[in-house]
Symmetry: C2
Subunit: 305 residues, 2 copies
């Protein structure tokens, strides 16, 4: 027998960064119920499955494990208060948030990074928790950044960081991505550049927000992807990885990062950074993405109603 | 029948922030095998369980599902290259990393944020993936920050951010935490303050690193927790949430954030921030932590060898 300290184990588990979700369902009395959870994982694309772990000691345990379905709401970085509400003993948690009944019947919250309305696929017993496996029947997603959780506290990779004030000699650029393609501006000679701005003294986000509006595709300020000394501009360069929604750009074009495209990027430092990004996002197809990447499958999934 | 676009679904799943792990085992030929995965979740504290999802199309599928155990290595933010190696078709992935055989027999990597050496508890079929549930037989963790993954690309909440150059009027402070307690310096009058430094023009991290060395407890520069205008100092204030390892401090004391302790914090803005931190870390006991929080259990877990 070996003793294992649960506090140390919990701390070790906490080194794995996670997002934050609110899991919702309707109880047998028809009332909506929900709780905050970070033990979420995507599982399968075909059929579309996800999972979330639920403590047996939870007051929602019976209602959830007997429910015909549940929804998972992935909180946006602006929704710390929603996380706190659904993690505390608030009388009516749903009174404080904007929500509706999802297509499959469970409550889905407004302004989240994504929601998934699921039918119950399987409940797996696992120690002091149960693993709820849901089959996604409907989902919706936007461009908001997810709220982060690390070592027992929230982090917002964008919000806090983007309010840091910088010197005047700073350049911000947007690595605006959609489906592994990146938005470029093209000049008459066929040279490519990223949307880029010089920042006057202040916070980089304001300029970046203006830059993204100029591009004219739904998007939001994303994670800092790279910080480096831009020798050409004699300034520090902050590149933000931003996620683009649907729609065409007024001023730029989304291009896959092929060798040909990279060769047309004039700025050397940007070229190197994009080469790294191409390599990482290509190789980064692990986890849920791995299977389809290996098989090269991109097809419609047929879902039974 | 409804068609669901797998690319859009994958993007929606990708809004949930994750860490990055390398899952390892020994194949039936005795050779070490490993692959990068972000579909990890902690599951249970008693017994100590975790899970990871594995694509059925993976070349490691048979070896993993038939293995008697596996290890999960949570990568540190300095280990993008390790993630890339174990996500690509490198001939001998283990040749490029420092590793050893863990106490339960699976390969564990050096310099990770944490590793867990597990026995196979259960394999659950789930669509195009299998869920491997492992029982933790041994684990180790340190103070390194975990590598992050969001929307198909890495992010490092600390590394990139901390290289941003700031104006001279900047104050950095360390919210150095261990088991929900925070390190304070105490003056003769019993007033408390966080380890704090003014930053001369440059990167805040250098000063913060020096500050942490002064404190004398193993730790590393953590996530930016709060950025605000420090009116008293007429400067911007960057507070970093840092994680402390074992050991006593030469100059400070770890205190729980009770009302009494908060009342002794002289600086008003710091007091407000710590009040928020106390509330969040207390309420933040969701997911794997929820059960024990609700029950208030802190006890040793007995493990069979």
């Amino acid at each position: 027998m070996t003793a294992m300290d649960p506090r140390t184990l919990r701390n070790a588990f906490g080194t794995f960064l996670t997002g934050v979700t609110v899991v919702t369902a309707h109880g047998q009395d028809g009332e909506p119920l929900g709780f905050t959870a970070n033990s979420f994982s995507s599982v399968s694309l075909d059929p579309p499955l996800l999972l979330v772990c639920l403590a047996k000691s939870s007051s929602n345990y019976d209602a959830l494990t007997e429910a015909s379905g549940f929804a998972v709401n992935i909180l946006a970085e602006t929704q710390k208060d929603v996380s706190n509400t659904f993690a505390s003993r608030v009388e009516d948690r749903f009174a404080t948030v904007d929500w509706k009944v999802g297509p499959n019947g469970s409550p889905v919250l407004s302004d989240v990074a994504a929601w998934f309305d699921c039918s119950m696929h399987n409940v797996v017993d696992a120690g002091d928790h149960a693993i709820l496996i849901g089959e996604v029947k409907a989902f919706e997603t936007g461009v908001a950044n997810g709220l982060g959780y690390a070592r027992g506290a929230y982090f917002t990779a964008t919000q806090e960081v983007s309010s840091i004030q910088v010197d005047s000699e700073t350049v911000v650029s947007a690595l605006l991505e959609r489906d592994k393609k990146v938005l470029f501006f093209e000049d008459d000679a066929g040279q490519l550049r990223l949307p880029t701005r010089n920042v006057s003294k202040g916070t980089p986000t304001k300029e970046l927000t203006a830059l993204l509006e100029e591009v004219g595709v739904p998007s939001s300020v994303g994670f800092i992807y790279s910080v480096y000394e831009d020798e050409e501009a004699n300034a520090q360069h902050l590149a933000f990885h931003c996620s683009a929604g649907e729609g065409a750009s007024q001023s730029g074009t989304f291009l896959a990062l092929t060798d040909d495209v990279l060769a047309r990027v004039q700025d050397a430092a940007t070229q190197i950074m994009l080469g790294r990004f191409a390599k990482e996002t290509q190789k980064g197809n692990f986890g849920i993405y791995f299977g389809n990447h290996e098989n090269g499958e991109v097809r419609k999934i047929a879902l039974g109603e």
